[in-house]
Symmetry: C2
Subunit: 336 residues, 2 copies
Amino acid sequence: MGATGAVGQQMKEQLEKRNFPIKDIMFLSSSRSAGKEIEFNGKTFIVQEAKPESFEGIDIALFSAGGSVSEKFAPEAVKRGAVVIDNTSAFRMDKDVPLVVPEVNKSDLGLQKGIVANPNCSTIQMVCALQPLKEQFGMTKVVVSTYQAVSGAGLDAINELKTQAADFDNAKDAEAKMLPVKSAEHHYPIAFNVIPQIDQFADNGYTFEEMKMINETKKIMHDDSLAVAATCVRLPVVTGHSESVYVELARAATVEQVKQAIKDAPGVELMDDPSNQVYPMPLMAAGLDEVFVGRIRQDLDNPNGFHLWVVADNLVKGAALNSVQIAEALIEEKII
Amino acid sequence: MGATGAVGQQMKEQLEKRNFPIKDIMFLSSSRSAGKEIEFNGKTFIVQEAKPESFEGIDIALFSAGGSVSEKFAPEAVKRGAVVIDNTSAFRMDKDVPLVVPEVNKSDLGLQKGIVANPNCSTIQMVCALQPLKEQFGMTKVVVSTYQAVSGAGLDAINELKTQAADFDNAKDAEAKMLPVKSAEHHYPIAFNVIPQIDQFADNGYTFEEMKMINETKKIMHDDSLAVAATCVRLPVVTGHSESVYVELARAATVEQVKQAIKDAPGVELMDDPSNQVYPMPLMAAGLDEVFVGRIRQDLDNPNGFHLWVVADNLVKGAALNSVQIAEALIEEKII
């Protein structure tokens, strides 16, 4: 569901690449995109307009078409026996909906009642990096500042960046219609700029994107007492979110221990050799599956404090790959 | 000294714009740029190659031509009676050299022995925002993640960004010669990318840029016990550094009190109205004198913790304007 969007296209590629066991597949969308053609495993499929009865006989429904679409169709799919893996924020904080990053909390899948939520992109990559540290050393506090790519706002946002970037000398006066939020009153150019707003503002002055990172991290890591603060920022990068993360551990650790924990963690790749200028960057992480972590260093004042630089493809591990991994885990755990 | 560089040009403009009291002026550079013409207050000047005797009869010498040039020529200028205002990092941490942001520690100018250092661009804007909070509420801890523009790396870095940005579809394979550090072994594209390295790496895993922010902040704010941590990151922005700052105050405060303190601070402008999407952005701050502060919010776990978003033109308040303000203060304080 949402097959023609930026994440939908990545989901299709992940299903092909990972050789997901598929007997039959259907590509759904709104009426606007219905009729388009999609190639999958060498065959051509016509995108169908989603209707409640589209979900008859479906085992797994991957949703990535916006919160209101999920709210409308996910219950219909569940009613017809499907397990919905929803990439929107519609159900993420529901008590009855597990919010899953398989490397971190796969066992929560056992609690599902028809819907499993895929976390926000910026949350997924952070918890992949934090979980091994929390397991080994405990964790009390996280302060994250993000450097987020425009692809998180969809294909139209990518095209807007491309158009704006082509006119270097008029960056300030570039036409802007998409960012920070398409439906918001004001739009600002993103080329050669930095916008400290992702999603709308909540009443407390935080954006919903920031509140997602805060609340989802606590839910996924099963720790309401973990202090999490986030500042979420959009940049002129096409794909690949970066995060500057400050973390305070419950117990003392050395840099070497932290690096080893990251190195041993599933789905995470240590990329940290400053003397050879080796550290993760979004342009190099785009298209790859891993969460890359580098620039690991101890705080100079707090021996339990560590700074990390975390980069991942927001459309891959941040969305499509994680959803497909959830689907794989559902099969592995014999839930489906 | 360094008249033809990115900061040198801004210094010239600030001297003109602020109507600085000048009897005579000379524009100096290396032999490479000598002979170029510079317009100043409607007259044409020829850039001269700097020699020790160039500084005979000079009252104030503004240096911005790299650390090695300052090390060579600043002592020659001082020997001949000039006060040197040095924009490089050569003397910043010298005990005998005051490191001055006039809004914060103008009184340190009385300690000068011929050289006054201008702090690093990313430090200047941060201390302007932090000083009013420290004065009113005390301060124990600062964690900053920066979003820095390429103009901090000079005119060639701006041109490289421009060239790379023109080829959107080949961003990953773009030719790179300038960033993160011209003299470093590896260079990475900056267009549509994020590079978590500014300046070379110190042995502790921090970059020199990060260590500058840490050490300079303590020196300017006269507080060695203030815990400061920095992660410095280069972005595809032409001019204007942004900073995500987390600060822990010594005493409790409300968001309203913090906003009021920022509003009342010299050189700082509160730009903080989330409901109308008002917050600082580099594209809008470029060319302006002020340090802009927005996105002010209380930490959700620590009532003494606050998050700020600080933006300023790194060539203006971050370099040229601050240097000229130091020169004005030297006159005002009757040091010259």
